[in-house]
Symmetry: D2
Subunit: 315 residues, 4 copies
């Protein structure tokens, strides 16, 4: 699907009305995810203007061909596309309608392609705001860690107005291995993203309890992890996190526990808003909250499993 490098990819996109290399893309947020994403956009032939709150994080992107700007608003071109990949809901709202936000600049015909993990509610709010300005908003969070972003292996979720989704499709394809259309409702891609993160944490807790039971019976945790990950659960989540949980090694953090708690809170807020009891999410929330109370917010989110181990007298 992605056999065509650089220009070829852009042309293909152009032919079906998608965004083309001729237009300059704004990209806001150069964290662990944003940086490799910008590189892939550049590799695909797009011109990219980048903004990051801490300017010196833009060095690599500039070296790879991006143009650095100093204000969020400068990343936007009237009627163009701005991609955002920032830390949380507040940071996102700030770059849209805070000081020097790009929201007004984007103007009629513009598209905000919002790829951060945020609340569905924030997407709904932003969609309404952009609509007032004549722009369109697409929620487009991704599954995958920085390595996947670098390898153009992200899974990209996408919800928003049909035509706008078509226009940004070439960008999404330049960033990931597959794009999933979740309909027109702006918050829905965020719902799927949050649901996925919830399911990852649920798998972690399940592994932890199961490995603890094995350990208490004298079975090696790493053997247990290996068996499950090569039989019933031979997929990345169980393979990767299984080994971390079996070995009880939670540093350095691939994804910080504090962010896991943030996401779990977003899940529970959405559950509350839609009257969807989620007792397993409640359990995970209490694990995460306890972890933060014990000062583990900077460990990997799989460290939530330490509570189960402590409860069993295993730490």
């Amino acid at each position: 699907m992605h056999q065509c490098a650089g220009g070829g990819h852009g042309q293909q996109a152009l032919s079906r009305g998608g965004s083309s290399m001729n237009e300059t893309i704004g990209f806001i947020g150069l964290g662990n995810m944003g940086q490799p994403m910008v590189r892939n956009l550049l590799k695909a032939g797009f011109a990219v203007k980048v903004y990051n709150r801490t300017p010196n994080k833009a060095k690599d992107a500039v070296a790879a061909g991006a143009q650095q700007v100093n204000r969020p608003s400068d990343a936007a071109t009237a009627g163009g596309i701005v991609i955002t990949m920032v830390a949380n809901d507040q940071a996102l709202e700030d770059v849209v309608y805070g000081v020097d936000g790009f929201g007004e600049k984007l103007g009629p015909g513009g598209i905000h392609l919002s790829m951060s993990t945020i609340a569905p509610e924030t997407s709904r709010k932003l969609a309404a705001y952009h609509q007032q300005q004549g722009c369109q908003y697409i929620a487009s969070p991704v599954f995958g860690r920085p390595e996947a972003a670098a390898a153009q292996k992200l899974f990209v979720l996408s919800s928003g107005p049909k035509e706008a989704k078509e226009r940004v499709r070439p960008l999404q394809e330049a960033l990931g291995q597959r794009v999933f259309d979740i309909g027109e409702e702006p918050g829905n891609a965020n719902v799927i993203k949050l649901g996925g993160n919830f399911m990852i944490m649920a798998a972690m807790e399940a592994m932890a309890e199961s490995f603890n039971l094995a350990e208490k019976n004298g079975v090696d945790r790493k053997l247990a992890a290996e068996i499950y990950a090569s039989t019933l659960f031979n997929c990345t989540i169980y393979q990767g996190y299984g080994q971390m949980i079996a070995k009880k090694i939670f540093e350095p953090a691939g994804f910080q526990l504090a962010l896991g708690l943030k996401d779990c809170n977003l899940v529970l807020e959405e559950a509350n808003a839609t009257k969807t009891p989620m007792p397993l999410a409640s359990l995970l929330h209490d694990r995460l909250l306890s972890s933060v109370a014990k000062g583990r917010e900077n460990q990997d989110w799989s460290a939530l499993t330490r509570i189960a181990a402590e409860d069993a007298g295993l730490e």
Copy 2:
């Protein structure tokens, strides 16, 4: 690994001291799992004597070459191997030391290869019993449903005395795609098996809560299931059960909910015995118990997810 058909397989086994085609294997329990397993043993060249409480279930096995016997004890040969694959702990104890049980008949040098899903404690008890008779006991539960058994794709767990494990290895290889050695402690293969069933049920509950959240937001449950099963969780458990849970179709039962509750109770008993708190297992237990209180014991165990749907007002 299983390239060699029939005799070849047996000879390979023989060369390293394993069981050979020359000896007759006893097989007790011709349910949905036992029947295809017997066929694979016959296909691999083993002579098999079969016993089943309801005799007419032996028809197919006999047609395929097995010899039917009328009492558990008749399935055993002094110093030979008896495989058991029965419904639960009680049924297993019955065929071992109940009326006409094979326990005494098996005698010195014999091996009981116990493949049912039972409590680790039952394995420990049986191991001690057989040892008194001069026999050996191997716990060897499997991962896989009847289709996997038919396709010789089971994953076979194995714990017990080293030499005995070596002798039964050719039988285990004739039944599955891979054998995992879980050490010498008799109950440990059961611990791993129960832990796996627990993790499956945990995945079901996680999917249910996540799909409910999606549905409440207007996202199609089947789309949600498909996305998760082709991205983060691209493994059989999520793919198969995901569709059932998304579609809310729980009949006919592949594995009855009543058996899921039995297994969950075994998990919690072992957790209790080893002082391993498992709050997620407690949650699943309460889901299963409620399901039985509502008369769903004969539905598929994935029907445990109906409670979450009802709690959300979705049924």
Copy 3:
């Protein structure tokens, strides 16, 4: 303690620097609680100006001697005292600094005696706001239902600046049977109030599960309720709610389930903010949320116990 009627009470208060009958008290919020509270203030000799969003609810208060005003700000006297007893945090913020709010009018030396059940965080915010205006804020939620309010039997919690607490003490004593000082930190009386409501709901769930177990064994639920309430738990909460839960009669609502969910959410928000895992509160939250999903928001909050009954197949 409350032996002195009317004027006597006021004089006693006056002598230790408390509020006196000479000053007019503003009272905002004439719901089921506010109405009997105003009557008690009048009975104790205070002059009261009342405001309610729905004006015709002021009828009884006016008949009893109160003066009705048309805007929140008209309830305040510069440097005086305003009592608020409204439905929720938003309603409270509205009457303080919404249109015609009394916040600016209250002015230097004024006191806002805030008796609604609200978030500790809202109290902290309001305390800071009033301080900027030169006023003081006292959080003073109460334990007790409308009948207790009418009988001057409320338990009054009180947190805020020391001097201000002394000044409002005569008012609090005119409203209840005992006042508890919870220190100076504005949100702390709210923390204690929320903790109490949480404990009530926990007792409800405990009774429900216990009564269900009794019923399933053929023991009359009402007998079970009576035994517990006259032995281990001979206190109002178990006596009153015990009978409701035993009889499964949840209408008419003394306190609506929707308000119970609101309070439970406030508990969990505070738990989140202070990193205090509360798994029992999480369980109650999921019960309440499910109840609302099933359309029971207008039943009594003890109807949260219906979920446990349904889970047991008892409804």
Copy 4:
């Protein structure tokens, strides 16, 4: 109710067909509860033969007028009454039909008044056994700790055949302040007893979570405990345990945590048998199990609240 000392009481009982002072009562089990109970029986004028596994615990009872015997069977008189107050189900079964058990000796017309906290299932089993011998079985557990036993303030539960219950009534009245009739089904008094212990533990967990929230907000735990115990929850359980939980003092144990776990397991077994999901009991179970995993089995059962404190980073 108990104004009549000794003989008067016995005569009153006699007149309505109850047990009289003329008959000798067997009493098995001289632990913290049994000892004061025997003293009260003697005080009421009954002749008592006592048995205890550790004989020297009988000293005080003998000094007070009891006759010590050396075997359980010697405590029984044909057609008489034997009271049992032992540690657990196993100990009870041992004294009934173990070596030197009193079961056969009791004979036609005899009554076993079983006051230990045991499983309903054990009561059912014992009732059936005694019936075969021509005797009757009454389950009669009590609410109250050793101090209450000493002060004749126990609450006595009673289930079993009507006539037998009438005959033992004077004994029950000599031991407690009130007797509750729970019907004819032998296990039902045990169900009520277990339900009560469950509710106590639920109240402990609720207090713990609430006090933790208070502490995290800077409110003194002891103040919080005092407020709740003198307002909403002014009953013994909250008053007594509230102070222990507030002060985090769990030694010496009034009732050992290991016994709390035993009772919680009995609750969950009965819940399982009757298909009654009890998620709050599941939560408590996991708290208790974790406590034992951490080596706290000999602390007071209110130490189960330490897990919540640890989860909040408060220990």
